[in-house]
C-alpha cells in the first residue's frame, strides 16, 4: 500500500518536488551567471530553458503513480462544489435518485429474502427438498402423510439425515379469544440434521419424537427474547399450547427461522405431539392426511442427482407399504406409482402457504417497474446535466484550450454524476429499509402473517452499489460526451456560446424526453391494468355481501366433546348468538368463504353424466338454516334449509348455479339427486346415498375473490353424521360495525362453553386478505406510475423551458415582425407535440408486448384493455401538455423589445 501512504503525504511530496525543481532552476541560473550573463537575464533564461513549470509538475505527479487517486479526490471535491452551487437541481436529482434506487433496493431485498437467500443453517447447499408425484401428474405433491414420512425416515439410505415438519398455529389461551403463536411440528432429527445449535438448554433429539410421547417444546430465539426476556429460567417451565402443557427444553440459536420462507418459528414441538393435541382426530397414522414437508441432507460428496436416483429406486417399496386402506383399485395403483423427486433446497421451501410461488411473478414485475422508474429518473438527470453542461460550455471550452484532455473532462463530468448517484444510493438505502418493511406488511394478512428477515446482506448491498454506479454512468455519459465536444475557439469567441452546441444538445434532450414518455406510458398502462384489476375485485358480485358480517372462528378442541354431542353444543351457541342485540341474523358453517380452507369431493348425478374431461370435484360445505340469509346469497330456485331438515328426514342438498348447469343444463335441478364421493381420494367418506336437490343459490367465491367460480354443494349440519369437527365458524350479520359486537359475542359464547377458543374476523377482512397480492400491485404500481408521470413532467418542463429560453431572441424577432401570440404558442407547442407523439407511439408499441407478461395477474380484463390504454394515454398527454404549457406561455409573453435589446 505504498501509494496509499504516499497519497497522504501528498502535500509533503509536492513541496519536495517544488524545491527539487527550484534547485534545478537555481543551478541553471548560477551556471548562466558563470557564463557571463547578468543575474536577471540568467534567471529568465534558466526558466525559459526549463519549460512550463506547472506542466512538468503535472507530468511528474503522473509518473508518481498516485495521480489517478489524487485527481479522483480532486474531482469529487469539485463535484461537491458544483452540486452545492445549484442546490435546487441537486435536491430534485437526489430525491428522484433516492426514490428510484431505494425502490429498486427495497424490491430486490424482498426478492433476496423470498427467493435467493440460503437458509441460515450449516452447509445449506447440502439440503434438498424431498417431493413426489405420480408419473401421470405434472405437479409435485407439497406434503406427505405421516406414514410416508416414517417410511422415508426409517428406510432411506440416500441422505445423511432427513427431516419433516409442518407449520401450525397454536393457541396459548385455554378457551375464550385465541392467543395464537406460530408453531411447528418438527421431527426429532430436525435441529440436529440442520445443524442448528441451542442458544440455551438443549434441542430435540430423536428420542423426543417417538409415538406416544408426552411432548417437549423448543422456543425460537426471538420469541424467547420477547416473551421471556431471554431468561434461562424459561428452560424447564411449561408452555400451554391448545390446552396442553409442554416443558420447554431449549432455545434455538439466534437467526434461525425454520425451513419455510415467510413463516416465523415461535415454538417447535415434536411430530408425535400431534397425537396429544388432536386426540382421536390425530393424523399420525392416517394415510390420507397430507401435512408434512420433508427435506434431506446430502451425504458428503453425493449430488442431488444421485440422491434423486436412489430415492426413485426405493419409491415403490416405500409407497407400497402405506397405501391408504380405503382406496379403490385405481387410486391404490396411482399411489403405488408415486416417485420421489429430490430437488435443491438450499433456500428452504416456498412455504405451505406458497409465499414464494405466489409472489415470484409479482416481485419480478415490480422489479421491472422500479427498474423503469429508475430509468426515467436517470433520463431526467441526463437532461438536467445536459442543460447544465450547456451552460458550462464556456468553462469547458476554456479548460480544453488550456490543454485539458477531453478524456480528463469526461472523467470530471462522470465523477460528478457518480457522486450524485452515490449520494442518492445512500438516501435510497434508508428509504428501502422503510419501504421493504412496509411491503411485508402489505403481503401479510390477518391469517397468514408473513415474516421476512430483511437484513441488508452482501448481495443486496452489492446490488445497490451496482445500480448506483450504473445509474451514474448512464445519466452521466451522454452529457459528458456531448458537452466536451465543443469547438473551443468558436465557443469562446461567440457571445452566444450556446448558439451552436445548444441547439444540438436541446435536440438530444428531446430524444431523452421522448424515451421518458415512452417508458412512462408503459408504466401507466401497467398501473391502469393493476388498478382496474383491483377495482374489479372490490366491486365484483362475490355471491355474498361482505359488509357487516362478523365471523367467529370457533374451536372446541379444549372442551373434549365427542363428535355426536358437538352439533348440540353448536346449536346452543347459535341460539344464544341470535338473541344478542345488534344481530340481524346468525348462522354456522364449516368452511367460511375465502378462509383458504377447503373441503371437496367428487360429485355425480345419476342419469346426468358429466362431459368427458370435466373434473367432478365439487367444493362442499355444511351450513345451518339462515346461512344464505346471513351471507345474503340469493336463492334462485327452490328453498333453503329449514328446521324440518333433520337427521331423520330425507337427505337434502343445495347447489350453486354452476353445479345446476353442469349436470342438468337448462333443466331444473330441483328434485334431482347427487351422489358425493364415488372415487375416494382419501377424504373421509360421508353421504354415499343419493341426496335430493332442494334449492339453487347464486355462485359464490370459495377460496379467493380472484378465482373463477367453483361448483359448490351445501348440506345441512343437522344431516351430517361425520365431519362435525371441532373447528367451525359462526357468521353474524350485524346492524352496527361488526367489531363493536365482539365483547358481547365473547361473553355469549363463554356462557355456553368457557373452553371454546374464539377468533374474530370480518368477511370484509377475509375478502381484502384474499386479494392482498392484487392490492399490493395496485398500490405500488399506482405509486410508481404516479412517480414516473411526475418525473416525466419535470423532464418535459425542463426541456421546454430551456428551449424557450434559447429561442427568446428568435421569438422576439417574430413578434416584432407581427407574429400573433397564438402562432408563437403553436411554434413552441409543435415542438413538444412531436416529442410527445413519438414517445407515445413508442410506448404504445412496446406496451403491447410488455403488458402481455402480466396477463396472469389481471382479473376481469385483458392486457390490451382499450379503456385502460386510452385512459393512460389521456393522463399522460394531459400532464405532458400542462408541463409544456407553462414555458410556452412564457414564450407568448416575450416582450420583443426586451428580447432584442438583450443582445
Amino acid at each position: 500500500m505504498r501509494w496509499l501512504s504516499r497519497l497522504f503525504r501528498r502535500s509533503k511530496l509536492d513541496a519536495q518536488l517544488d524545491s527539487e525543481l527550484r534547485f534545478h532552476v537555481e543551478q541553471q541560473t548560477a551556471q548562466n551567471i558563470a557564463a557571463g550573463m547578468d543575474p536577471d537575464d540568467a534567471r529568465r533564461r534558466a526558466l525559459a530553458q526549463f519549460g512550463g513549470l506547472e506542466y512538468i509538475k503535472e507530468e511528474t505527479r503522473d509518473a508518481r503513480g498516485t495521480h489517478f487517486i489524487e485527481t479522483l479526490l480532486q474531482d469529487v471535491r469539485f463535484a461537491f462544489r458544483i452540486l452545492r452551487k445549484t442546490p435546487f437541481i441537486t435536491a430534485i436529482a437526489l430525491l428522484s435518485l433516492a426514490l428510484g434506487i431505494g425502490a429498486n433496493t427495497a424490491i430486490f431485498s424482498l426478492i433476496d429474502a423470498v427467493m435467493l437467500r440460503m437458509l441460515p443453517v450449516q452447509n445449506p447447499e447440502q439440503l434438498t427438498l424431498i417431493k413426489f408425484r405420480s408419473p401421470a401428474s405434472a405437479h409435485l405433491r407439497q406434503s406427505a402423510t405421516d406414514p410416508i414420512w416414517e417410511q422415508v425416515r426409517d428406510h432411506q439410505d440416500a441422505f445423511s439425515g432427513v427431516i419433516a415438519w409442518s407449520p401450525e398455529t397454536f393457541d396459548l389461551a385455554d378457551g375464550g379469544e385465541v392467543n395464537n403463536i406460530h408453531g411447528m411440528y418438527v421431527s426429532g432429527s430436525y435441529f440436529t440434521t440442520l445443524g442448528v445449535r441451542p442458544a440455551a438448554g438443549r434441542l430435540m433429539a430423536a428420542s423426543d419424537d417417538v409415538r406416544g410421547c408426552s411432548g417437549v417444546a423448543v422456543l425460537g430465539y426471538g420469541y424467547w427474547q420477547s416473551h421471556y426476556g431471554g431468561a434461562e429460567s424459561a428452560i424447564g417451565s411449561l408452555i400451554r399450547l391448545n390446552g396442553h402443557a409442554f416443558p420447554i427444553i431449549g432455545i434455538a440459536q439466534a437467526g434461525f427461522f425454520g425451513t419455510e420462507i415467510g413463516v416465523l418459528l415461535d415454538v417447535a414441538i415434536p411430530i408425535c405431539a400431534e397425537g396429544i393435541l388432536d386426540g382421536q382426530n390425530s393424523m399420525l397414522d392416517d394415510r390420507s392426511s397430507w401435512w408434512l414437508e420433508m427435506m434431506g441432507r446430502l451425504k458428503p460428496g453425493m449430488t442431488v442427482e444421485q440422491a434423486d436416483a436412489r430415492m426413485k429406486v426405493i419409491s415403490p417399496q416405500l409407497f407400497g407399504a402405506v397405501v391408504p386402506q380405503d382406496s379403490d383399485a385405481t387410486y391404490a395403483a396411482m399411489f403405488r406409482n408415486y416417485k420421489f423427486f429430490v430437488l435443491p433446497g438450499d433456500t428452504g421451501t416456498g412455504g405451505t402457504y406458497g409465499l414464494r410461488e405466489q409472489y415470484r411473478q409479482p416481485l419480478r414485475i415490480l422489479m421491472f417497474v422500479v427498474g423503469l422508474v429508475l430509468l426515467i429518473a436517470c433520463a431526467n438527470l441526463a437532461s438536467l446535466l445536459l442543460a447544465r453542461s450547456a451552460a458550462r460550455q464556456k468553462e469547458i471550452a476554456v479548460r480544453l484550450s488550456l490543454g485539458a484532455s477531453r478524456a480528463r473532462l469526461i472523467r470530471q463530468v462522470l465523477t460528478e454524476s457518480i457522486v450524485l448517484s452515490g449520494a442518492g444510493a445512500i438516501l435510497g438505502v434508508l428509504f428501502a429499509r422503510w419501504g421493504s418493511a412496509l411491503l411485508v406488511r402489505f403481503v401479510s394478512t390477518q391469517q397468514n402473517q408473513v415474516f421476512l428477515d430483511l437484513k441488508m446482506d452482501g448481495r443486496v448491498l452489492a446490488f445497490t452499489i451496482a445500480i448506483a454506479v450504473l445509474c451514474g454512468l448512464l445519466f452521466g455519459i451522454f452529457p459528458a460526451l456531448r458537452s466536451t465536444r465543443v469547438d473551443a475557439m468558436s465557443a469562446m469567441k461567440e457571445g452566444q456560446a450556446q448558439a451552436a452546441g445548444g441547439r444540438s444538445s436541446s435536440s438530444a434532450a428531446r430524444w431523452i424526453v421522448a424515451a421518458q414518455i415512452a417508458l412512462s406510458l408503459i408504466l401507466l398502462i401497467g398501473t391502469g391494468l393493476f388498478i382496474h384489476t383491483f377495482a374489479n375485485l372490490m366491486t365484483l358480485d362475490a355471491g355474498f355481501d361482505r359488509n357487516n358480517v362478523l365471523m367467529v372462528e370457533t374451536n372446541i378442541h379444549n372442551a373434549g366433546i365427542p363428535e355426536p354431542a358437538r352439533a348440540v353444543l353448536y346449536g346452543q351457541m347459535l341460539a344464544k348468538l341470535r338473541t344478542l342485540p345488534g344481530v340481524v341474523s346468525a348462522s354456522q358453517c364449516w368452511m367460511t368463504p375465502l378462509s383458504g380452507r377447503q373441503w371437496s369431493n367428487s360429485v355425480t348425478a345419476p342419469g346426468h353424466p358429466l362431459p368427458a374431461g370435466v373434473d367432478p370435484d365439487t367444493m362442499l360445505n355444511w351450513v345451518t338454516p339462515g346461512y344464505f340469509e346471513t351471507m345474503r346469497t340469493p336463492l334462485l330456485e327452490g328453498r333453503t334449509f329449514e328446521a324440518r331438515d333433520s337427521a331423520t328426514s330425507t337427505p337434502v342438498v343445495i347447489v350453486n348455479q354452476l353445479v345446476a348447469r353442469r349436470y342438468f343444463g337448462t333443466q331444473s335441478p330441483i328434485g334431482q339427486h347427487l351422489i358425493v364421493g364415488t372415487v375416494s381420494s382419501g377424504t373421509r367418506e360421508m353421504l354415499r346415498q343419493p341426496i335430493e336437490i332442494i334449492g339453487v343459490v347464486q355462485d359464490t367465491k370459495y377460496n379467493s375473490l380472484d378465482e373463477d367460480f367453483q361448483p359448490e354443494a351445501y348440506f345441512p349440519l343437522s344431516q351430517i353424521q361425520q365431519n362435525v369437527v371441532e373447528n367451525t365458524a359462526f357468521e353474524i350479520r350485524t346492524a352496527m360495525t361488526p367489531g363493536a359486537l365482539i365483547p358481547a359475542v365473547r361473553d355469549a359464547m363463554g356462557s355456553v362453553n368457557k373452553l371454546a377458543s374464539l377468533q374474530f374476523t370480518t368477511l370484509k377482512q377475509e375478502a381484502d386478505d384474499s386479494v392482498a397480492q392484487e392490492h399490493l400491485m395496485a398500490v405500488l404500481s399506482g405509486f410508481f406510475g404516479g412517480l414516473a408521470l411526475l418525473l416525466t413532467a419535470i423532464g418535459l418542463y425542463g426541456v421546454m423551458a430551456y428551449v424557450v429560453t434559447q429561442r427568446t431572441h428568435e421569438i422576439g424577432i417574430r413578434m416584432a415582425l407581427g407574429a400573433q401570440q397564438g402562432s408563437i404558442l403553436r411554434l413552441v407547442m409543435r415542438d413538444a407535440a412531436i416529442v410527445l407523439a413519438a414517445g407515445t407511439a413508442a410506448g404504445l408499441l412496446s406496451s403491447i408486448w410488455i403488458t402481455h407478461l402480466v396477463k396472469g395477474l389481471l382479473f376481469g380484463l385483458t392486457p390490451s384493455d382499450p379503456s385502460t390504454v386510452a385512459l393512460a394515454i389521456i393522463a399522460l398527454v394531459a400532464v405532458a401538455l400542462f408541463a409544456c404549457y407553462i414555458p410556452s406561455r412564457r414564450a407568448m409573453r416575450v416582450d420583443p423589445m426586451v428580447a432584442l435589446r438583450h443582445e
Partner: protein, 111 residues
C-alpha cells in the same frame, strides 16, 4: 534547440539516467548536465522528461533518493542506484548492446 535533436528511443533515457546515477549519488540538475557533457552535447535532456522519468524510476524502486547538502551548502535531492536498479541496469545494458550490435550488423551487411 531540442527540436532538431533526435527523439530518445523508448527506454533509452531511463538507461542513460540509470547509468549516470550508477557513478554515485547525484541530483537532477547534475544528471542532465552529465548526460549533455558525456554525449558531447548530442543529448539535451528536457526537464519535462527528466523529472517525470526520475520519479517514475524512483517509484519502481530502481532509484533511491536522499536529501543532502550540496558542495555549495544548498539542500538537494540526490538520487542513487538501488540493488534492484543495478540489476535492471545490467540487464538493460546487455540488451541494448545486443540491439545496437544487431542494428550495426544490418547496416553493414545491407551496404
Amino acid at each position: 534547440m531540442a527540436q532538431n535533436k533526435p527523439e530518445f528511443l523508448k527506454g533509452a533515457l531511463d538507461l542513460l539516467i540509470l547509468k549516470v546515477v550508477a557513478l554515485g549519488p547525484i541530483h537532477g540538475y547534475a544528471i542532465s548536465q552529465r548526460i549533455q557533457q558525456i554525449s558531447e552535447d548530442y543529448f539535451q535532456v528536457q526537464q519535462g522528461t527528466l523529472y517525470p522519468a526520475l520519479h517514475r524510476l524512483e517509484n519502481r524502486g530502481w532509484l533511491g533518493a536522499e536529501w543532502k547538502d550540496t558542495d555549495t551548502g544548498r539542500e538537494a535531492k540526490f538520487y542513487s542506484l538501488t540493488k534492484k536498479g543495478r540489476k535492471h541496469l545490467e540487464a538493460e545494458m546487455a540488451s541494448w548492446e545486443r540491439m545496437s550490435n544487431a542494428v550495426a550488423l544490418i547496416l553493414r551487411t545491407a551496404e
